[in-house]
Amino acid sequence: MLSIIIFSAVAAIALASGVAVFRVDSMARATYALAISFVAVGVMLLMFDLDYIGVITILMMVMEMAIMAIYMIMFMGMNPALMPMSMVHNKRWSAILAVGAFLLLAGCALLIPWPERTGSPAVDLTVSLGEAIMGSKMLVMLTVSPILFATIVAALVLANPRGRYDRWGDALRRSTPDDPQQGGLSR
């Protein structure tokens, strides 16, 4: 019983801050509302004994939102003061679609006769996760890691306007790169 009450409270926080993301008047508040939503979901994961993944979710998402806030302000430049803002299009259709999707999903969740639980969770879930990653599910992780690496490279290629010829000169012969901001290494 207690767990249901706690879960409902956390769920309410997650949903309310999720809604707040698109309702508040400042970029910073929107971003941190999303962060709160993620932290609430992380806490829910903790309630399912998923210690590792719950804490990792909180860690990753707070980090992501801290960076995201910068992008929000960089590209949308909003002041900390609360300027009324709304930049939506197709508001009505978006709302209709979202509500429709919710009714469909919630209906499925409530009406489908879910099967009985098979098996029981391992005693130490973190250990079982580690064994799965390094054992039977190793292939998954082996696939994820090059994808992540490719993402880093691709994102840098997309976002970085300056190639090595801009930095090192046409003949790549400069002793130090011509950067707008000097780095810490005398390369």
Partner: protein
Amino acid sequence: MTLQLVLVVAAGLFCVGLYGALSQQVVVMVMMGLELMLNGVILAVTAFWWFLAPNADGQVLLLVVIAAMTVEMTMGFAIATLLHRSRGSDMTDTATDLSQ
């Protein structure tokens, strides 16, 4: 806690995110909508894992979802930067020039 309760909460998060992703004009705000949808997915996966088949595979799936989120974020930021650089704008509407 029951499976149904958790799934309804997850559906709620997913659809709030869906609304945001569909309605927002700015790339970064659209990304926030997508993030919120994935947030719902994480919760739903957890619920299925816990209530239906609590073995290690479900946890691996969660890790994959989180990895997908980071990929989405990284590429989103890169594309937003690229758009901003090339057009001085990051509105989704202005990014549809090519399709016209």
